[in-house]
């Protein structure tokens, strides 16, 4: 039974099915079930496990044995990774403390159990370099971490240098923009200070707008941010929120008012004060506890394969008639 399961013909069927599954998975289409990959991978894993036990071509040659065990481990680790992973996005404003509540588009495996709630950092400022023609270059994003004895540690992250905390990896993205900080002073009740994230900048330079309805009212307040950032297509430029200024155009109930930081406007249900202009940074959040293991297992596997070929290629001279098929190695 095990020998039948270990058949090379069965391996070929599994590989052809896996190739079909991979082709169907191109672009992660919603209509394609993950089973198109799981089924062939499960078949191949069974076939491989049986071959490791029963096939002397594999289990009597150390290099090939290591390679196939690592191949099996890779499949298992990748599966475990999907069951325990977390993928999410985050928009965090300058001086804002990270909170799990701010995560968006969260996708996680059923066995995910990381220490996300233990993560503490505060977002600082950031700069993004642009080449002529508004081509994005390096991002330098400042984050503040709690250090020993209540000290604060500053770390610069960006692009391929993620912030890694509790094995969660926070990668800066192209998604970043400006945030007016506003205080709403209702006619009745306590003042509330909050922020309105404007669309990504400079991607949506032409539509820096958003809207908000104060709690307990039906009054929609529309915001349009007129930015002066020095952005230019003609030469290199650095996006830096500290060098940017903005005028906030507030429209409500047919009334249009332009606000500078510190200005306020009276509306039907209260007063709105434009406190300051700051920035937000978009991060991709990634967690997969298996990635280091996956790396080492695949590397060891390839070295096993290399060892096998090294031995094999040295046994039979390169230009001889010797047959390499079957067990004549």
């Amino acid at each position: 039974m095990l020998r039948r399961l270990a058949s090379l013909k069965f391996t070929l069927v599994g590989m052809v099915l896996l190739a079909g599954g991979a082709a169907l998975s191109y672009g992660n289409p919603v209509e394609t079930s993950v089973w198109v990959l799981i089924v062939p991978l499960a078949l191949l894993a069974l076939n491989l496990a049986a071959a490791i036990v029963t096939n002397p071509r594999i289990n009597r040659q150390p290099g090939l044995l290591v390679f196939h065990i690592c191949l099996l481990a890779t499949v298992l680790l990748a599966g475990l990774g999907r069951l325990t992973h977390l993928d999410a996005h985050l928009e965090i404003a300058q001086n804002e403390v990270f909170s799990t509540d701010t995560l968006q588009e969260v996708k996680k495996g059923p066995w995910h159990s990381g220490n996300l709630d233990k993560i503490q950092f505060i977002q600082g400022t950031y700069t993004v370099n642009y080449a002529k023609g508004l081509k994005r270059g390096l991002t330098h994003s400042e984050v503040f971490l709690p250090g020993l004895g209540g000290a604060t540690v500053v770390q610069i992250v960006g692009d391929d240098r993620p912030l890694i905390l509790e094995r969660y990896r926070f990668y800066t993205t192209h998604n970043k923009g400006f945030v007016p900080i506003l205080t709403w002073l209702p006619n009745q009740g306590e003042p509330v200070t909050g922020r309105i994230n404007m669309p990504a900048y400079p991607l949506y330079d032409y539509k820096q707008d958003n809207s908000w309805i104060p709690s307990g009212t039906k009054e929609e307040i529309k915001f349009w941010l007129q930015l002066q950032t020095g952005m230019t297509m003609d030469e290199a430029w650095v996006l830096d929120g500290r060098n940017a200024t903005g005028t906030l155009v507030v429209t409500s109930g047919g009334k249009r008012t332009e606000l500078e930081p510190g200005d306020e406007v009276s509306l039907e249900h209260g007063r709105l004060r434009f406190e300051s202009l700051t920035t937000w940074m978009g991060y991709r959040v990634f967690y997969d506890p298996t990635i280091q293991w996956l790396f080492w297992v695949t590397v060891v596997g390839v070295f096993g394969l290399t060892h096998f070929f090294w031995v094999k290629l040295n046994l039979v001279p390169w230009m001889d008639e010797g047959d390499e098929r079957g067990s004549k190695v």
Binding site: L8, K9, T11, L12, M15, V16, L18, A19, A22, A23, S25, Y26, G27, N28, D87, A131, G133, K135, R136, G137, L138, T139, G158, D159, D160, R161, P162, R169, Y171, R284, F286, D288, I291, L294, F295, T298, V299, G301, V302, L305, T306, F309, K312, L313, V316, W318, M319, D320, E321, G322, D323, E324, R325, G326
Partner: protein
Amino acid sequence: MNIVAEQPWLWAGLGAYLVATLVAMWGVSPRSENSALVANKTHEKLVLGFIVLGVLLLTVAIAARWIRIGHGPWISLFELLMSQVWSLGLIFAVLYWKLPGLRPSTVIVMPVMWILGSWVLLLEPGISHFPATYYNVWKWSHVGLGKIFLALLLAGVGLGGVMILRTTERGRTWFRAMPSDAVIDKLAWRMMMLALVFDSLMLIAGAVWAQDAWGRYWAWDSLETSAFLTWIFLAIGLHVRLTYKIKPWVSGAIIIGVFIMAFSTYFGIPYISTSAHKGMV
């Protein structure tokens, strides 16, 4: 038309490859059989010499472009093709030198390089933008391993092509100086085995780079899917050869099939897909 710094060197390098191709073709032709140059294998030294000269000239072309635009040949199709023509020539020259048995297959290998060479001549050598994700050091290993992988596949294609052409009378005449099909088949699949090692390492390095660059090591984007299919086709080819006694021409056809898949992964998919990966950003 403005001629930029790298172009004269590029043309000269491709010219040297062309001379190598013509000498190799003359060497396999039955008309040259009685020539002293062929009889004492001097023409093989000429072929190797012109390939090496081409590589040296292309090295200068790449360096000139690097100095002109401030970064290596990583981004545009023009740069990728130029750098592939360089690396394929370099690695094939080493194989040509070390493995005399494959030398006549140059008449198949060099025209494939010429497809790339002709293609690059049709492209604008405009300045490309160096994306932030390309500062990552894993780029070097990913690209370097990929170059070795493709060159080994190309050497396999040369040998596979010989096995296919030898089913014809003309092919048997051209490749009369080469070893038997059994030896060529063995040599071709050794190239495939080594290609599998370098392909696997390239995928690992690429996954590490993707994790750093885009925050995920695998996402089934167009290039990743195509690269994985190339790897699995190569693995299928190796297992087919282990499982069945296949005829040499079938063996050659499998190798060429894997190469076509790899070729489209390198030079097709990144430039027709609209995915974020796109091979460059």
